[in-house]
């Protein structure tokens, strides 16, 4: 294919994403679900040549790697430890109420056990990207319920730190012995990375922390891709390798790397969502439509309840509790990522997760901005946030 055609088609796709992003900003939702839709539209309407398809594939994989790397970067700070202590109860409630529906739905739909565990992950994870965007866009950073919302997101990240390596190991499958071995390797790698980060993270961080921004960007990106590549060759997920690098970097270098990598991550993550839309088996969507909608309804309520409870514990009034609940509803980037991991194991997981993310990512932010109108309705129905939740 001539280079001109590659650029033309790729440029068109990216420009469409830019337009979609602006549209999303205009109507006040995040672009993630729209990127998914863009991927679906490209799949249906426009047939990409092999080269752009190839680029999107590679770019999407890099996007997944960078998403997890930046998640890992968030990890080793003290905020997490204090959060874990202060909010562990709400974290347990969150996990119990939001992981279980996905798990049960997976089993009811006849998924293999691992597929059900993946679906549990999909329904569990609030999109911290969407939540923080709602908070910033609506000027709610100073609100009293905001620390609760952020704490829930942080705790979910912590759970992901254990969940992802385990799931990645289980996905490799094979005999019981092989699975056990993979699991052991994954947990050992995670434990080692965590230990090294705590103990020697400053050494790696100092080595990587060069003065020049350019050298820092190249150094970090190179390291992330090399580790991801090695992880992939060792049949551990590439994204998990990147995640471990993120955990190992800490302090100033993590701060600087985040600034440097974020624009790249945004670009490639958008490509990742397009890729996901592009790969969806559309003919399976009708089959999963009803379960996805039901699941979205149920887990929106459970997530809402978690936010409501958390905010109530922080001494926040009804309207603030309502905002906390609705802000936590949207699922996004990591739900898609988890579904992406399991596409080969459970083909219906992709369409199911896509519909699910589309629904929750739209109703959450929409509800979040009508606290003044909707919260009073709940106040009458629930003068006391019910007992035993």
């Amino acid at each position: 294919m001539p280079l001109g055609q590659l650029f033309l088609e790729l440029g068109t796709v990216i420009l469409v994403l830019a337009l979609v992003g602006r549209l999303a900003g205009r109507i006040g939702i995040t672009p993630i679900p729209l990127y998914l839709l863009a991927g679906i539209v490209v799949q249906v309407v426009m047939h990409l040549g092999e080269a752009p398809e190839h680029f999107i594939h590679t770019g999407g994989e890099i996007g997944a790697v960078l998403l997890l790397f930046t998640l890992g970067l968030e990890y080793t700070s003290d905020e997490l430890r204090s959060n874990l202590k202060a909010n562990s109860r709400i974290g347990v409630l969150d996990f119990a109420l939001n992981f279980t529906p996905g798990l049960l739905a997976g089993l009811l739909l006849g998924f293999p056990a691992l597929g059900a565990v993946l679906l549990g992950g999909v329904t569990y994870l609030t999109s911290s990207g969407i939540a923080s965007k709602i908070l910033a866009d609506l000027g709610r950073l100073g609100n009293r319920e905001t620390p609760t919302i952020l704490a829930v997101c942080v705790l979910e990240d912590v759970v992901m730190a254990v969940y992802l390596p385990v799931v990645a190991a289980l996905l490799l499958g094979g005999t019981l012995l092989a699975v056990g071995l993979n699991l052991f390797v994954a947990l050992a790698a995670f434990g080692a990375a965590f230990f090294l980060a705590m103990r020697y993270g400053h050494v790696l961080s100092r080595v990587m922390n060069v003065g020049s921004n350019e050298a820092l960007l190249l150094g970090v990106l190179g390291l992330v891709l090399v580790v991801a590549g090695v992880a992939d060759l060792l049949k551990v997920s590439a994204a998990i390798g990147a995640f471990l690098v993120g955990i190992a970097l800490s302090g100033e270098v993590a701060e600087r790397a985040r600034h440097q990598i974020e624009p790249l991550r945004d670009l490639f993550a958008a490509v990742f969502f397009v890729l996901f839309g592009l790969q969806l088996e559309l003919d399976r969507v009708p089959d999963v439509l009803v379960p996805a909608l039901l699941l979205a309804l149920v887990t929106s309520l459970t997530k809402f309840w978690v936010g409501w409870q958390g905010a109530a514990r922080a001494g926040v009034q009804t309207r603030g509790r309502f905002r906390a609940g609705t802000t936590l509803i949207p699922r996004g980037e990591f739900s898609i990522l988890i579904a992406g991991l399991g596409l080969t194991t459970v083909p219906t997981l992709g369409p199911l997760a896509a519909v699910y993310v589309l629904v929750t990512a739209i109703i959450g932010p929409v509800l979040a901005r009508f606290d003044g109108q909707l919260a009073p309705l709940l106040e009458r129905k629930k003068p006391q946030p019910a007992q035993g939740g």
Partner: protein, 176 residues
């Protein structure tokens, strides 16, 4: 005396707020990237932000000056600071300082200003009695104790501004 609440906002920064005498909650969010956000809460919904104002680091310094604060009197609330002849201050430290990334010993703080560094607060954790090898990072808060003038000199030293030493100071000779 104003009772200031401190709440970490993971991924964003730190929130400081208090209940104002005239019925509103007032606060400042220090974002990790250095921006400051000034906000007031709504009267009908005290949990929510009514108005917020995002300022750059430089702008917020100007606003602080206009409001009558200075780096040295910023947090003069604790009784510890009331000991006659002794001042204590929390000095913010950022990448613009000439000592950024340098070991603490190189500031020669006590020799040059008469004030001592008693602790460094990094990522919200205090590190008491830091050794001379400890490197200063952007985002640190440096706790210094000394005479009021000594603390002022310490703030200038860290900002890379020239400092006036007392007439009889031995370093005066060396500087000339």
């Amino acid at each position: 005396m104003v009772k200031l609440d401190e709440t970490p906002l993971p991924g964003v920064g730190m929130r400081y707020d208090f209940d104002g005498r005239y019925g509103k909650r007032i606060g400042v969010i220090t974002h990790r990237d250095g921006r400051r956000e000034l906000f007031v809460s709504r009267k009908d919904d005290p949990d929510a932000t009514e108005k917020s104002l995002v300022l750059t680091e430089e702008e917020s310094a100007v606003v602080a000056d206009l409001m009558g604060g200075s780096t040295v009197t910023r947090r003069v609330a604790d009784s510890m600071q009331d000991i006659e002849g002794l001042a204590m201050d929390w000095l913010p430290f950022d990448a613009r300082s000439p000592f950024h990334g340098m070991p603490l010993g190189q500031t020669m703080m006590r020799t040059r200003t008469g004030a001592s560094i008693v602790a460094i607060i990094r990522d919200g954790t205090p590190i008491p009695a830091p050794g001379p090898d400890m490197r200063l990072q952007a985002g640190d808060t440096i706790v210094v104790v000394g005479t009021a003038n000594g603390v002022k000199r310490a703030a200038k030293l860290l900002n890379g501004e020239p400092i006036e030493l007392p007439e009889d100071h031995p370093l005066n000779a060396a500087n000339r």
